[in-house]
């Protein structure tokens, strides 16, 4: 049974501006605004994680983690008595299903990403093991963040399936499949992977796609290098720990120097040990960056959807234009474009008047239908562009806000680390002076 998410206080050495508990809270609070959407009505949290074993689809024994989702109506809390929350357990795969459903159903929304399925960009001390308690804990936080993001999104928060995800443990999966989203999901997947050329995409989307590619590249690189930096920093601090031991041994053979050496050694030990907390805090920063790294996929998906609708519009318009042209040719008898029919009729004689009339009628019908189709596609495209761009503007503001906060927390962490360093070495120096 995983411990509750209460963060531990780090050892206070000298003056430290911020404890890790406060820091975690700050990170959580600044990222998601609690007074929006569904969060106005209910509190949502992913409170715990638990290991389970069971038989999977192919009847093999497997171990997996489940997460406890707790919800509580907001108005009951303000009464002073906090009732027990409603809760249910969900697996990571169910979160994935929810997200896929949202992606398909709301293609104009930049849907928040899920935390990593597997620990990928980690520094050596953190294991890449999915069962590792630290990884599970960070994933729990990530899943909660996902739910909060969805819950405060102006469009997504009203979705019934989302609400059921939070409240109906049994039968939720069937509900999702009942919506028929799977078919849409399949065609969407096909469309995503199809190759087509759009003649007039909205420039903003082209720029956005370019930006998300750049952001993905730079964030991946940043996370990789940061992990290496963390590795090295760990090494530097830990080697200092060896001083503690040798100072202690040395002090045993000294008369006047002994006490100073011994107590200095203790401070150097404290210094060496402090790196664990420092790097744990830095993981939060890495997680914040990772969220936006994964967000780039969602951005690209929206851009892709725009390309698709634009392409469909252009195709429909093209079809209409060619039908109109065919009609014109039929009416005027001129053949401007090469066609096999045209050639054969030239060779084998003109068609009869009735045949021509029938063709004309058919074409006119098609033209009418085509015009309707173009109108429809036009509206679809316009609506999409409008709603998608609205959401993208919100996303951009959110991104700027969140990443700025992340940088500030990072700077605060660095400042705290420097202050601790100064404190510990000053203490050691005092001891050395007494030698």
């Amino acid at each position: 049974m995983m411990a509750d998410s209460a963060p531990e206080e780090i050892a206070v050495i000298g003056n430290i501006d911020i404890t890790s508990a406060e820091l975690k809270n700050n990170i959580r609070n600044t990222m998601v605004e609690i007074d929006k959407g569904l969060l106005r009505k209910m509190e949502i949290s992913v409170a715990e994680a638990e290991k389970r074993t069971g038989k999977n689809a192919v009847n093999m024994q497997e171990t997996y983690t489940v997460y406890l989702i707790e919800t509580r109506p907001v108005d009951t809390i303000t009464e002073g008595v906090t009732p027990a929350p409603d809760s249910l357990w969900r697996r990571y795969s169910e979160f994935e299903l929810l997200r896929n459903y949202l992606l398909v159903t709301y293609p104009f929304v930049v849907v928040a990403p899920l935390p990593e399925k597997r620990a990928e960009i980690v520094w050596h001390k953190l294991s890449a093991d999915n069962m590792d308690p630290d990884f599970v804990e960070r994933r729990r936080v990530g899943l909660e963040n996902f739910l909060l993001r969805v819950a405060c999104h102006p469009v997504l928060c009203n979705d019934k399936i989302f609400y059921m995800f939070l409240t109906e443990e049994k039968g939720w999966k069937e509900m999702v499949y009942d919506t028929g989203f799977q078919a849409k999901a399949d065609s969407r997947l096909k469309a995503m992977n199809a190759a087509f050329r759009v003649k007039n995409p909205d420039k903003r989307f082209t720029e956005l796609k370019h930006y998300s590619d750049e952001l993905q590249t730079v964030l991946s690189q940043l996370l990789r290098v940061r992990a290496r930096v963390a590795d090295r920093l760990y090494g530097v601090y830990k080697v200092h720990g060896n001083y503690g031991r040798v100072f202690s041994e040395w002090s045993a053979i000294e008369k006047e120097m002994g006490d100073g050496l011994q107590s200095a050694g203790h401070h150097v030990d404290v210094y060496a040990a402090s790196v664990d907390d420092i790097l744990e805090e830095e993981e939060h920063y890495a997680d914040q960056l990772k969220e936006y790294l994964f967000y780039t996929d969602a951005l690209r998906a929206v851009c892709r959807k725009h390309e698709l609708t634009q392409f469909e519009l252009e195709t429909a318009a093209q079809d209409l234009a060619s039908k109109k042209q065919q009609k014109e040719e039929l009416v005027t008898g001129t053949v401007r474009t090469f066609s096999l029919k045209g050639m054969t009729s030239k060779l084998f004689g003109q068609e009869t008047a009735e045949q021509r009339e029938a063709k004309l009628q058919a074409l006119e019908q098609q033209i009418e239908e085509g015009e309707e189709a173009v109108k429809e596609k036009n509206k679809e495209s316009d609506d999409f562009v409008k709603t998608a761009w609205e959401d993208i503007e919100c996303f951009k503001e959110q991104k700027d806000r969140d990443l700025k906060e992340a940088l500030i927390s990072y700077a605060i962490m660095q400042i705290s680390m420097c202050k601790k360093g100064i404190q510990v070495w000053t203490n050691a120096k005092e001891c050395f002076n007494k030698m």
Binding site: Y211, V225, D231, V239, H240, I253, K404, C418, G421, F432
Partner: protein, 444 residues
């Protein structure tokens, strides 16, 4: 002739002698960081007779002008245990210069002396000496003062391919070690009166003197090392010294290894940091509102990299050489202990021989003077050694106190620099659009 100037040399302008702080003065100790240039010999002759600096008993004191703050600090350390004692011999090793001749290239150092001792003809000297001259001095001292601990010299041989003998760092490290060596000799109540030291400090041309010294001092040179006698019972206190030295050497070795490992880890950390900072700059290029904050972070990380580079360099230059020198010091001490053992063994053997012979004689003869001489030698040696041991322990304590507080200081300064960088970038992160934030970041 190319000039190699020590890295730590900084000029605060020419200062007349009287404005240079005297190390024994209480207030002056606080301004130990004052850097003064090395004045020409001509300048100082005019300062003789200045009454501005004097000890409480009224005797005027000559100050040697330190060429760098570290040598001034060095002198402060050595002065500690001569509290109240009058110091009348001050020496400095500075101003390394490269000499290129057809036969060889080598470095010479200026050896400056200021003294009121009657054993010296002049109150001041300035001569140039090379490493082999120091080596000569040391072996002369070892031979002529075998009962005393002679401070070590820096390593004589360096692998030609591996170490650049003429690089700034190497020359400066050597100069500091030579300076320390000479100061330790000059502070020793017996060694400082040695005539070879006198020659070393004052003779214009040492080569001629080297030959002379060898001839005249042949008689006194006693082979203490090869005794061939076996020691019966080593007195407890000397046995304890030997044990201590063995354990101490071990600890020194461990500390050296740890220090090297830390420097290595820090260098690797630096490599990664140097790759880390530019990624923020790249990121900043594709952002709008985040551009300034990201560039601020990039700049900050670059500052931290610079600070780390300095830390690693400082530790390499200041910390490791002193540790290594102490290993050599321990070796010197061990060899003196061995010599003492041999002298005692010789005495014991002779005493036994006499006792044996005594039994054979019928008449009671006086103890031969030969044995008496040996007994004297043992007692003198023991006394000298004990005095030197105490002195050495004291110096060792001060040296390590200075060394370790120095290490702490380097680390403190590193973190202070990083702290300043991050604190200055904070306003930029919090509100990049505000004019205060911009002007704050520009201030740095």
């Amino acid at each position: 002739m190319s000039t190699v100037t020590p890295k730590s040399l900084a000029s605060s302008g020419q200062k007349p002698i009287q404005e240079i702080c005297h190390p024994l003065g209480a207030e002056e100790a606080a301004s130990a960081g004052v850097l003064t240039p090395s004045p020409d010999v001509g300048n100082t002759t005019s300062s003789i007779g200045e009454k501005d600096l004097s000890l409480p008993n009224g005797t005027p004191v000559e100050t040697s002008s330190p060429a760098s703050s570290s040598s001034l600090l060095n002198r402060l350390q050595l002065d500690d245990d001569l509290d109240g004692e009058t110091r009348d011999l001050f020496v400095t090793v500075d101003d390394p210069r490269k000499h290129v001749s057809t036969m060889e290239t080598y470095i010479t150092y200026r050896v400056a002396t200021k003294t009121t001792r009657v054993e010296f003809d002049l109150p001041e000297y300035s001569v140039r000496r090379r490493y082999q001259d120091f080596d000569w001095l040391r072996s002369r001292l070892e031979d002529s003062q075998p009962t005393h601990l002679i401070p070590p010299l820096p390593e004589k041989f360096v692998m030609k391919g591996v170490v650049d003998r003429f690089s700034e760092e190497f020359v400066e490290t050597r100069r500091k070690a030579l300076d320390k060596f000479l100061k330790r000799v000059a502070d020793h109540p017996v060694l400082s009166f040695n005539e070879h030291l006198n020659a070393f400090l004052s003779a214009k041309d040492l080569n001629k003197r080297q030959g002379l010294a060898l001839l005249t001092k042949m008689g006194e040179s006693v082979k203490y090392v090869t005794g061939g006698y076996k020691l019966r019972a080593r007195p407890m206190e000397f046995a304890a010294m030997g044990d201590y030295l063995d354990m101490f050497t071990q600890k020194l070795g461990t500390i050296d290894r740890i220090a090297q490992r830390i420097i290595k880890e820090q260098s690797e950390y630096l490599v990664e940091l140097r790759e880390y900072a530019p990624v923020y700059t790249t990121w900043a290029a594709s952002e709008a509102a985040l551009q300034e904050p990201l560039e601020g972070v990039a700049g900050c990380l670059a500052s931290c990299s610079g600070a780390l580079d300095e830390l690693t360099e400082d530790m390499s230059e200041d910390f490791l050489p002193v540790l290594r020198e102490y290993v050599l010091y321990v070796e010197s001490m061990k060899s003196v202990l061995k010599k003492r053992d041999n002298v005692q063994a010789e005495y014991e053997a002779k005493l036994e021989a006499v006792a044996f012979r005594k039994e054979e004689r019928t008449t009671a003869a006086a103890v031969p003077t030969d044995v008496e001489k040996c007994q004297d030698r043992v007692e003198c040696f023991n006394a000298d050694l004990k005095a030197d041991w105490d002195r050495w322990q004291n110096n060792k304590r001060q040296d390590f106190r200075q060394l370790l507080t120095g290490m702490a200081d380097h680390n403190i300064h590193y973190y202070e620099k990083c702290l300043a960088a991050w604190e200055s970038v904070m306003p930029l992160l919090q509100d990049p659009q505000s004019p205060e934030a911009r002007s704050d970041s520009e201030k740095d």
